[in-house]
């Protein structure tokens, strides 16, 4: 009955709060908040920004999903960062080397990406399951190490090609690309559709399949799951691999839809953004989508703020405030609901006389 309120009110409150707080920061730095917010919103209707935002959100979405799979199993996969970059470079190398007919080429690249993401996630997974190494440490280390591996692989001595001062993998032939969808003055990544399918599959897996049940059960209580026939180690392994597999897709929208090569200037940190997005979306595929869009919107608006000489750090600050205040708002609303409920029981009690029926309702034997 109050579900819309408990679900939607907190994010709205959080955004309002973030807007107010950032306004103070804007005023201190001598900017006009109204103009700043006007620009942030106005930019969405200019040029291809709206499409760019959705494109960027697609990447964040995949990253958020990858992180969320780990969270379902209580695994803190900080390693999405390393996994997606490893997968990207391996897939780009493979894709550049392959000569295949159109659709098959794309599928082959995606398979390579997923497998590579899984392979890189397998390291912390195996270390955790066999040696009990905390996945937090191992993925932090692997995130750093991946930079060395990429540098090694795209070295001109190995698989790299130098273009100007940039080095990257060989360009993927048109047969291996995913055509975009022209929309206004921009081009929407064709991968948006695949991302939506992945999101749907995530939802279905989690809520409708035996595997999803086992994953959630194991995440909630390893002991209860074990007594129910679910091996926590197996689930840890599979969840980490799945997470890595999805992480493998993170760079694909851009690789197959825009860049066609993975180089040293490729964007980093999508994996870390994924953590924030997954948390914002409360691990729900729909929530993650909204979180990804919001995040992408703030990112693109940062660029526009620069154009009117407003310090774009405001966008980062807003992102931080929103993450924090969304969860605070959830808690505040929860407490308000609790208090309201308590008052309601109190009133019912007063009306019904001393033996309120509510005791039995509450589950007392």
């Amino acid at each position: 009955m109050t579900s819309w309120r408990t679900k939607l009110l907190p994010p709205l409150l959080a955004i309002v709060f973030a807007v107010l707080l950032s306004a103070i920061a804007l005023i201190i730095s001598g900017a006009d908040p109204l103009q700043a917010y006007g620009t942030m919103i106005g930019q969405m209707f200019k040029g291809s920004t709206a499409v760019d935002t959705v494109n960027l959100a697609t990447v964040y979405y995949l990253s958020g999903l990858a992180v969320a799979i780990g969270f379902q199993m209580n695994l803190f996969n900080i390693g999405v960062e390393g996994q997606y970059r490893f997968a990207a470079v391996v897939a780009a190398i493979a894709g550049g080397a392959m000569k295949l007919p159109p659709v098959i080429h794309v599928i082959a690249i995606l398979v390579v990406a997923v497998v590579a993401g899984m392979a890189y996630a397998a390291v912390p997974a195996i270390l955790k399951v066999t040696r009990g190494v905390s996945e937090v440490i191992s993925t932090i280390m692997l995130n750093a190490i991946v930079a060395g591996i990429i540098a090694f692989l795209i070295n001109a001595d190995q698989f790299g090609v130098q273009r100007g001062n940039n080095i990257g993998t060989r360009v993927i032939e048109p047969s291996g690309r995913i055509p975009g969808i022209p929309l206004g003055s921009g081009t929407l990544f064709g991968f948006v559709i695949i991302a939506a399918i992945v999101g749907g599959a995530y939802w279905f897996m989690l809520n409708r399949t035996r595997f999803g049940f086992e994953l959630k059960a194991s995440g909630e209580s390893t002991t209860a799951a074990a007594a129910g026939g679910v091996s926590a180690k197996k689930m840890t392994l599979i969840a980490m691999l799945l997470s890595g597999g999805v992480a493998g897709l993170v760079a694909m929208p851009e690789l197959l839809g825009r860049d066609y090569s993975y180089g040293i200037t490729a964007t980093q940190m999508y994996g870390f953004t994924g953590i924030a997005v997954a948390l914002l979306g409360r691990n729900h595929p729909g929530g993650i989508a909204l979180g990804a869009l919001l995040w992408a919107f703030l990112d693109t608006s940062a660029v526009s703020l620069e154009q009117i000489n407003v310090s774009k750090e405001i966008a980062t600050i807003m992102q931080g405030i929103i993450v924090l205040s969304v969860v605070v708002a959830y808690e505040v609303v929860r407490r308000a609901d609790l208090a309201a409920e308590q008052r309601r029981v109190g009133r019912a009690l007063a009306a019904n006389g001393r033996k309120g029926s509510s005791v039995a309702e509450g589950g007392a034997v």
């Binding site: 040029g47 920004t49 540098a151 795209i154 273009r163 100007g164 940039n166 860049d259 526009s304």
Partner: protein
Amino acid sequence: KDSSGGSSNNSAAPSSGGSDCVTAQKPPAAPAATSSSAAAGGKVDGSQLKIGLAFDVGGRGDASFNDAAAAGTDKAKSDLGVTTVNESTASASEAESAKQQRLDQMASQGLNPIVAVGFAYADSVKAVAAKYPNTKFAIVDDDSITLPNVTPLVFAEEQGSFLAGVAAAYKSKSCHIGFVGGVNTPLIQKFEAGFLQGAKTVSSKIKIEDEYLTPAGDFSGFQDPPKGNAKAAAEIAKGADVIYHAAGASGKGVFDAAKAGNALAIGVDSDQYNQKTVAADKDVIITSMLKRVDVAVFDYIQAVAKGDLTVLPKRFDLKVDGVGYATSGGKVDDIKDVLDGYKAQIISGAITVSDKPQK
């Protein structure tokens, strides 16, 4: 100073002292300077130009190539009467689409020309320039784009670094010098290549420490003074006494290490002797390899104002003073003739400097 060119004549005889290091003949004296800015000449009016300047990470104030680009537009404002310069700066780890968005917004606002600073903009410039064929674009440090409305502004960093190598070899007492690269990219390898070649040209027996902080793609190497410090200190501990860095902000750590280890250092990009953030170490900075992004940007704007881009050089090299060395502090005054001699040889083609490290 005993390391002046004079001793190089009897290089065969081993003896103590830094002078022994120099084994090559001192180059012939340079002819009187002939080069000058490419577009020198009559006054040009740029008041109609509205310029977009897209910085790489760091932006105005980074005391490096972004700042140099800004200096170029500042000069255009004062010398050419340019009134409008819109600036925008990339943030660390921003998405490729943000770069495109930045350029796209500039182009759609009617800014023309648009200067993109840094090869990280290559893909974005390529995409956006194709979309706005009537807008002129320039990109610093990249020449991979072949569109008619895109002008590459690239430099012969290896030539300037060659001179840094010469200076290092002449100034080293232990005949042992060092290079600290920030990130091992092709661009920084040019600095490395020129430095190595220059030093080896001067001395056949010089020892060179040659290391990077991080590999390609891990840009933290430009951001980590403590690591630059550790690396330089290690090179000094091994015996190197002149260190050349191409490590961006990590260079500060290199200078600190040189100062602490009684060694000398060579700066990069701008004249770091005069740079505020490293002022405490200025007495160890003997020279800096100058990369005149300001000159390139200014020349480009001037050429656009004139409507003739053909006057621009293909590469900003020693000949057009696109690269060079700094003399602030007077620490290389004693070998200025040597440096200018090599400079002349490079300009004349007598020496070709490779842009790939020959190890």
